[in-house]
């Protein structure tokens, strides 16, 4: 039986660019799927197809048991959408926004009002309820946005980069809110450029690149793909790289990689902290001065790098903050994809 969110072979082209090149997804009810990838990977386009905003050229999509292409309006009753592009009206107060969204979800005016009060309470916005959303901080606005997506307590939620551009404290807060939400049984599809976020919130992660899901699994499964832990050494003198490389070869379980300009050497190992101590002693014996040394467990960024051949972070820094500065631009991801 297909899950609460199911997609098969989704294809979407913009001009001659294939933004989605056959995306398959299956999210079991009550779980969180993290859609991870850099800008332009096709994350937003996927969400837009699943939330009826965009019609895929081909493929199949079922959300909450309803065929997205055949009964889009039925799907709209069962989903909540929040994130970079589904915004709130900045000239309306928080209360007015939620009241309006409730009414447009076809609630009666009075019920929509009661629900707005509940949500404002739940998202700690009661004090700001009667101020235009324009005056809200970034974190408050995201909370309002999330509240708007929850007006009818939909069984399936989509969040497109919910924390992009938030400071760490606000991000933490929003994570707590999202965790509470999914503990209540909501199925959630979340897109993010933050590997940490996917690791933190998602039961399963699908890595997307160039319109395809290139890998999927739990965070641990994906990490295991890069071959476990590694020792990383930064030597002080460039001429010591050679000798250090020799030392590491002795301890390593694979090839040592060397970054000349940063004087950084990396080697996969097994043996943990005990082995690290031995490496340090050996380097010391050979008289190699080191600036930094550590045992690194693979992050999802490493996973990404090994899967795609490029870093996820680079894109994140270029576009993530830029995006926030410009405000939320709905078509951003699609435009990126169209380049």
């Amino acid at each position: 039986m297909p899950g609460a969110i199911y997609a098969e072979g989704l294809v979407k082209t913009f001009g001659d660019v294939r933004a989605l090149d056959g995306v398959d997804l299956d999210v079991p009810e009550g779980t969180v799927l993290g859609l991870l990838g850099p800008n332009g990977a096709g994350k937003t386009t996927t969400v837009r197809c699943l939330t009826t905003l965009l019609r895929p050229d081909s493929g199949k999509a079922v959300v909450a048991g309803i065929d997205v292409l055949k009964q889009p309006n039925e799907v709209r009753r069962s989903i909540g959408l929040s994130g970079q592009f589904a915004a709130v009206d900045e000239y309306l107060t928080g209360r007015e926004n939620l009241h309006m969204v409730g009414q447009l979800y076809q609630m009666r005016s009075k019920q929509a009002k009661v629900r707005a009060v509940e949500l404002l309470e739940q998202f700690h916005l009661t004090d700001a309820a009667d101020r235009p959303a324009k005056t809200y901080s970034g974190g408050m606005r995201r909370r309002l946005d999330l509240a708007a997506a929850l007006v009818v307590s939909p069984p399936v939620m989509f969040m497109d980069e919910p924390t992009t551009g938030l400071d760490p404290r606000n991000r933490q807060q929003l994570w707590e809110v999202i965790k509470d939400l999914v503990s209540g049984g909501t199925t959630l599809l979340l897109t993010t450029q933050y590997l940490e976020e996917a690791d933190h919130l998602a039961h399963e992660i699908a890595v997307v690149d160039q319109g395809r899901v290139i890998a999927r699994g739990t965070a641990d499964q994906l990490k295991a793909r890069t071959g476990g832990e590694r020792v990383e050494v930064v030597v002080h003198e460039r001429e010591h790289i050679e000798t250090a490389s020799e030392v590491l070869r002795g301890f390593g379980k694979g090839d040592t990689t060397v970054e000349q300009h940063t004087r950084k050497l990396t080697v996969p190992v097994t043996g943990g902290a005990k082995l690290l101590a031995e490496v340090i002693r050996e380097l010391d014996t050979r008289g190699i001065e080191i600036d930094d040394i550590g045992l690194r467990r693979p992050t999802l960024d490493d996973v990404f790098l090994s899967l795609t051949g490029h870093h996820a972070e680079a894109d994140d820094q270029e576009n993530g903050t830029d995006e926030d500065a410009k405000g939320r631009k709905g078509k951003k991801d699609d435009k990126e994809a169209a380049k």
Binding site: F14, R48, T51, T52, L53, L54, R55, Q71, N73, E74, R76, R77, I79, L81, Q84, F85, A86, A87, V88, D89, E90, Y91, L92, E96, M100, V101, Q103, L104, Y105, Q106, M107, R108, Q111, R115, P132, A148, V152, S153, G184, G327, R328, K329, G330, K331, D334
Partner: protein, 285 residues
């Protein structure tokens, strides 16, 4: 949780007519609230037509020939219907910019993800603009009376006819906001929608009988002016207001201006509403 979901009315998918009306009113209310929060928009919308009334009346007033007179009082009474009509068409730019802004900020996507009637976002916007247009017209009519506009200066008229004239003006303005809606959905930025909504209005409103006696134009221009939908409403208003300077052209819209105005405006609504709603459904991507 389920109590909330149960409270959702189980309307037919796609929506009944009742749902359309209800959703449109919700969106219209939202747009009207916005207008009260940005009062400078209403103010700027008023300054321009008032300026036109004053400038045209006093600068052009003495040198314009209407029929066979250059009496400034005649021109003043001739002019007002033209200014009123031009003012209501300028609502096009506001509607376009508003919708482009909603697209830009992601509000259109929010609306499109909700189980609401398809045309309601646009209808709500155009209805809110209609309210603003009515307010603008009210102020403008008072200014016109202040500078010396006297309905019935040429032909007798009555309150009903005058209201009928304003009704036609509102209908024209409403029709034009649907053109604005289509423009707003078709451009990339609100700025483009503002200029794109205005530029073509100048030829449309000037190649007409609004500010000059069109019988004095070169024949080919006169034909354009006679058949211009905009001219029909102006002529209809002059007729209903009892203002001077009715075109004596034999063209059908000039002979039956009230009908022509009604037909033109309704046609514009039907055509542009259809195009705009279709565009909306596939918008934003």
């Amino acid at each position: 949780m389920s109590a909330v979901t149960d409270a959702v009315r189980t309307a037919a998918p796609g929506g009944s007519f009742g749902q359309s009306v209800r959703d449109s009113l919700v969106v219209a209310k939202r747009n009207l609230i916005r207008m009260t929060r940005i009062p400078e928009m209403i103010l700027f919308g008023l300054i321009q037509p008032v300026m036109f009334v004053v400038l045209f009346t006093y600068v052009f007033g003495g040198s314009m020939q209407i029929g066979d007179t250059t009496n400034p009082d005649v021109y003043k009474n001739f002019l007002m219907a033209g200014i009123f009509a031009q003012t209501v068409t300028f609502a096009t730019a506001g509607a376009g910019a508003g919708i482009a802004d909603d697209m830009h900020k992601g509000l259109i996507d929010r609306f499109r993800s909700l189980p609401m009637a398809r045309g309601a976002v646009l209808t709500g916007r155009t209805v809110a603009d209609l309210v603003q247009t009515a307010l603008t017209l009210l102020v403008l009519a008072m200014v016109a009376l202040l500078v010396g506009w006297r309905p019935g200066s040429m032909e007798p008229t009555n309150f009903g006819k005058i209201m009928g004239g304003f009704g036609l003006l509102l209908l024209l303005g409403y029709a034009f906001t649907w053109i604005g809606a289509l423009i707003g959905l078709s451009v990339r930025t609100p700025e483009a929608a503002t200029s794109g909504g205005l530029i073509w209005l100048f030829p449309v409103t000037f190649l007409s009988n609004a500010f000059v006696d069109s019988s004095k134009m070169t024949p080919w221009l006169r034909h354009i002016a006679d058949w211009n939908p905009f001219s029909a409403t102006v002529q209809a208003c002059r007729k209903l207001f009892g203002d001077p300077g009715l075109s004596t052209s034999g063209a059908w819209p000039m002979q039956h201006p009230v009908w022509a105005s009604l037909i033109y405006s309704i046609l514009i609504v039907v055509i542009f509403r259809t195009l705009a709603v279709r565009k909306y459904r596939s918008a934003a991507a």
